[in-house]
Structures are given as structure tokens and as C-alpha cells.
């Protein structure tokens, strides 16, 4: 079996291969639905209805997509430079912690000053958290995959410690949760009566900004060059280490904004279940988007729709909602395979 490079894919192929990957994902999910004794078509119909069948459903999907856009962008930026950041989960919580520390009354400032200040501080915390593994990678050759993964567990325990100690809500009846943010530290809702908040707008702005940085600035060019071939980039005189550090700050910062947005826009306080794996799902979002910042928005809405729809479906059809996790994981694997098949021809000999 051999792989031979193909000429650059046509616009049709660029759509057909990813569509094929999604089709295979649904095919596999259908088998699981059949195993659960339900009808795949009606189950997927319920998923679609739960994700986009009503105005309420649509708003829920966009609300769920918001943190995924941030973590998807974080992963897309890092993977582009081949910095394997699997720690978006930890960076998200770093941003959430900063949001709670600064947003529960420590800074008596009006909202237009306080909100940007908190967002920037949160992003800085997340960036610094990823800078550690990046420095270890560059200086000592420690694989950042393992360090960022292990830091996820450390961070979750750290949050648990804070919620039972320094940040514990005295009125929380012993429940591990932080105090509520003050009103000035809350991102407002976009429409009254809906949960969708301005974190979504911030996420869209970040996607546009990341797209601009990646496509139109020297830094974006350098990041892609380092990701393509670090040795060649170094030979061409690029400061590879500095570029990796900047990538780490940007990636970690974006992931931390997910934590800021969830606490400030949606939940209002910090709990241990703030993120049901948004950091890990961000990897899938980034890969589905082929690491394209604008594609991340579409991929995040799609993935969020699968989760929101599956939740609604499982309540009525009795198929476990974990089917959404299976579908998201399958989509990741089929998508990377589809991208490969788009670029290479497989010769069986």
C-alpha cells in the first residue's frame, strides 16, 4: 500500500471529502442507534429538532457553541504551529478563576472598564499557563502533549481546592461553588429572556481577529512556517522559539476566554462542572474546521448542535446522550482520514 500525492483538490473535492466524513460518522452512529433498539432516522430527526427545531433550540445551540469557538480557536492556532496544546481545559479554568477573583467585588469599577480588564487578565493567565509547557518543550525537550494533559488534572484539583477554601461561597450551604459575580462583571444577554450572551459576539470577534492574524500578519506567516517545517524556518532566520512562545500566549489566552465567557456570560459563578470537556472538544472543532479560524465558528455550531440535540433526543427516545460524544470522536477520526484522502491517492499493490 502506497500513498501518492494528488494535485491540489478542486473546490468540489474540498466539500465532498469532509461531507463524506460526516456521512460515515452518521452511518456509524446509526449502527449504535439500531443497537439501542431505536430507528436512526427518527433519532436523528429528534437530534435536529433539539438542535435547531425552534428558536429556543437554536439559541441553546449558539450558547453551547460559544465556549467551543474559543477552545477551537485556541487549538487551531496552536496546532498550526505544531504546538500540541491538549490543555485547553486547564487554560479555560485558569480564565474562570481570574474572572471570579476580579469579578466578585475586588475591583469597584464600571462595567465598560471592568469587563475588558477581566477578559485581558483571564487571557493572560491562560497564556502564561501554556507558556510553561512551551518553555519546557523548547528548553528541555519535554513533550508538551503529556505536560498539558497532566496539567488539566492538576488544574481541576486546584479549582476544587479554591472552591473549598479561598473562593468558597460562604452562603453556598457547603456546596463547592464560588460567590456570584457582581453585576458590573457580568456580560449582558443579547436578547431578553434568552441565555445567549455577548460572549458569543466576543467569540465571533476573536475568530475574525485570529483569521486576520493568521492570514495577514507576519506573525501568522511565521507560525505557519514553524508548523510546516521548524528547521527550515530556523534556517531562514526566524526566531522559532519566540514564535512558539507567542503562539502559546495566544492559544492559552483564547482558551481562557472560554472560561471568562462561561462564568461572566452564562453561569455567573465558578463550579467544578463549568466545563464538560470543552477543552478536549475544542480539538475536534479545530480539526473539523481544518484549522481555519472562520471554519471553527461553523464547526463549533455543528458540534454544539450535536450535543444539544442529543440531550433533547435522549430525554424522549431513550438513546443515551453519550451518542453525541461518540459522534464527535468519530467525526474527528473520519475527518483527518478524509483530509488525507483528499491530498493523497492510496495505491494497493
Amino acid at each position: 500500500m502506497r500513498l501518492e500525492p494528488k494535485p491540489a483538490p478542486s473546490a468540489v473535492a474540498m466539500l465532498a471529502y469532509p461531507a463524506g466524513a460526516i456521512f460515515v460518522t452518521f452511518l456509524f452512529a446509526s449502527l449504535l442507534v439500531l443497537a439501542a433498539g431505536a430507528n436512526p432516522l427518527s433519532v436523528f430527526g429528534l437530534v435536529l429538532k433539539g438542535a435547531a427545531g425552534s428558536r429556543f433550540a437554536l439559541f441553546e445551540t449558539l450558547t453551547r457553541a460559544t465556549p467551543l469557538i474559543f477552545t477551537g480557536l485556541a487549538v487551531a492556532v496552536a496546532f498550526r504551529a505544531r504546538l500540541w496544546n491538549i490543555g485547553a481545559e486547564a487554560q479555560l479554568y485558569a480564565g474562570a478563576i481570574v474572572t471570579v477573583v476580579l469579578g466578585t467585588g475586588a475591583l469597584p469599577l464600571p462595567a465598560p472598564v471592568l469587563l475588558p480588564l477581566i477578559a485581558l487578565s483571564a487571557a493572560l493567565a491562560g497564556g502564561l499557563l501554556l507558556l510553561g509547557p512551551a518553555v519546557l518543550k523548547v528548553r528541555f525537550g519535554v513533550d508538551e502533549v503529556v505536560t498539558t494533559l497532566l496539567l488539566n488534572f492538576v488544574m481541576l484539583l486546584f479549582v476544587s481546592m479554591l472552591l473549598e477554601g479561598l473562593l468558597k461561597d460562604p452562603t453556598g450551604l457547603g456546596w463547592p461553588q464560588s460567590q456570584k459575580l457582581i453585576a458590573e462583571a457580568r456580560l449582558p444577554r443579547i436578547f431578553t429572556g434568552r441565555r445567549l450572551h455577548y460572549g458569543f459576539v466576543l467569540a465571533l470577534a476573536c475568530a475574525a481577529a485570529v483569521w486576520f492574524v493568521m492570514k495577514k500578519t507576519a506573525l501568522g506567516y511565521e507560525m505557519r512556517a514553524v508548523g510546516h517545517n521548524a528547521q527550515a524556518a530556523r534556517f531562514a532566520g526566524m526566531p522559532v522559539n519566540t514564535i512558539l512562545f507567542k503562539t502559546a500566549l495566544l492559544s492559552g489566552g483564547l482558551a481562557a476566554l472560554a472560561g471568562f465567557s462561561e462564568v461572566s456570560g452564562l453561569k455567573g459563578n465558578l463550579t467544578l462542572d463549568l466545563s464538560p470537556g470543552f477543552g478536549y472538544t475544542g480539538i475536534v472543532v479545530a480539526m473539523l474546521a481544518l484549522l481555519n479560524p472562520l471554519g471553527v465558528v461553523i464547526a463549533a455550531i455543528f458540534v454544539a448542535g450535536v450535543f444539544v440535540g442529543a440531550d433533547a433526543m435522549s430525554r424522549s427516545a431513550g438513546v443515551p446522550s453519550y451518542i453525541a460524544n461518540v459522534m464527535v470522536a468519530t467525526a474527528l477520526l473520519t475527518m483527518v482520514t478524509a483530509i488525507m484522502l483528499m491530498r493523497f491517492r492510496v495505491r494497493w499493490r
Binding site: F140, F153, A329, V336
Partner: protein, 313 residues
Amino acid sequence: MEAFDILLQSSFWVAAIRIASPLIFATMGELVCERAGVLNLGIEGIMVAGAFAGWFTVYSGGDLWTGVVVAALAGALFGLLHSFLTVPLGLSQHVVGIGVTMLATSLAYFTYRLALPEVTSPPKIEPFQPLPIPLLSDIPLIGPALFAQTPLTYLAYATVAVVAWVLYRTPLGLAVRAAGENPSAVEAQGISVTAIRMGAVMAGSALMAIGGAFLTMSAFNSFFFEMVNGRGWICIALVVFGSWRPGKALLGAILFAAFDAYQIRLQQISGGVVPYQVFLMLPYILSIAALILVARRATYPKALMIPYQKGER
């Protein structure tokens, strides 16, 4: 002095070896994969799948050893998926590994919820019981620790011996090591690098799954969510710490487990002055510290993470 006395209790060493056992299986599994040139980040999810498959087999009426075999087969199946995508297709081992972990974990959770929709507390099985080896288990301190464990722990010792013997004393092991160092030399001998690497990943994944099964069938007696809890990632660190050698990796696993058992006991005598989460963080921080310590002189298998294409240099 209380902190030191712990080290003289045989119950401490018994716990240390019990904690080490699943790590030994999974570390050996990862070591076999990496020695052949494939980083297998599917390890965490494959351990979850093994833990579930083994437990579920016994829960559905199979006997314990059947459970171990089913777990191994489930692991090998995920190994087949991982290696098909990373070896002949040459996809990113990072991305595929994370994908396999997500898929294996979510499939295990899905099947669990499908089979047991209404349970609130996880159902129990009758797990492996300790089987003291006569005479050897009477040695003070280390006797009970090493030789009064469950049969699965003895299987873990045997696994280390078999992995070391195969890797260093057989032609197959030479081919596996060469596939990870200099794959074109393997091909020059008329051996398929693809077959060697895929075989190594499948065998290694089977071992990871048995490591997971140890949790549900020997250490505990039921399956619950989040039970693997990063052990797979720790094993990846242990392989680096053991510089890709089975003996050193075994030593690393036992040291790590002893530390883990120690922090649990230290937590009890510290009297709640230090938050318990600090103790729980220590194993992960220790793993990172160990990686930093050895990283400078680590000699990775030279072809690790480099896909191989026949006739390409």
C-alpha cells in the same frame, strides 16, 4: 517520625504494588508501541474500554479470566484502528491518539448507559481475590507486598519479563526495535515495517486494556465514570522516565505507586492542615517533574512519530 514509620508497614507496600499493577500493564503496552515507532495516545481511552469490557463480561455472567481476555481483545481492536490510521495511512499520531481516546471512552460510557439505564450506584462483581504464594509470602515486609496479591498482579510481573525477553532476545523483538529506530533497515531484511508496527500497537493496546481491567476486576469491583483518571497519561510519562526499557519502566511504576500510596497515608496523618487536593495533585506534578529530569538525556526511539513509506528515505 510518623511519616517515616509508614514505610515500615507491610500494608503500605501491599497498597503500593496494588496501585502499580495497572500502571505496569499499561506502561509495558505503551513501551511496546513506542519501541516500534508509534506514540499511542489512545492509552487513556483504551484503559477505560478495557476496564469496562472486563467488568461487563463478568457482570454478564462470564468468569474472571474470560473478562481479562475480552478486555485484551477490545484493546487490540482499538489498537487496530489506531495503527491502521497512523501506520499505513500515516496520519498524525497526536490527533489520532486523542481521537481514539475520545472514541473508546465514549463508546464505553454509551454501552454502560445502554446496558444499565436506571442504576444509581454502580453494580458490583466478585473480583479477583489475593492468592498468597506459599513460603514467598512469609518473607517479612516484601513477602506480602509482592507475593500476596491477586493473580492479575502476578500476570503483570510476567508481562514485564515477557516484554523484556521478546524485545531483547528474539528476532521479533529485534524487528520491533529496528522498526522504531531505522525502519528502512527492517524493510531491507524483507520484513514489513507496516506489519511490525501494526502488530506492536495491537499487542500494546491489549496490554493497556488489561491494565484498565485490573481497576474494575482486581483493585475495585465495579465500573464508574472517570475511574482511569489520567493513569494513561501518567504511563506515557513513565515510559519516558524508564528510557524505553522494561526493567527501568517497572521500577518507575513501582516508585510512582509507592509515592501515591504514601501521599494517601500522609494525607491521613496531616490532620487536614494541608488541603487534600494538594496531595492528589502530587502524582501529576511528580510525573511532570520526572519528565523534566530525564528529558535532557532521554534517547527517544529515532523513528518515533515518523510515518514510514516503503521506498522512501
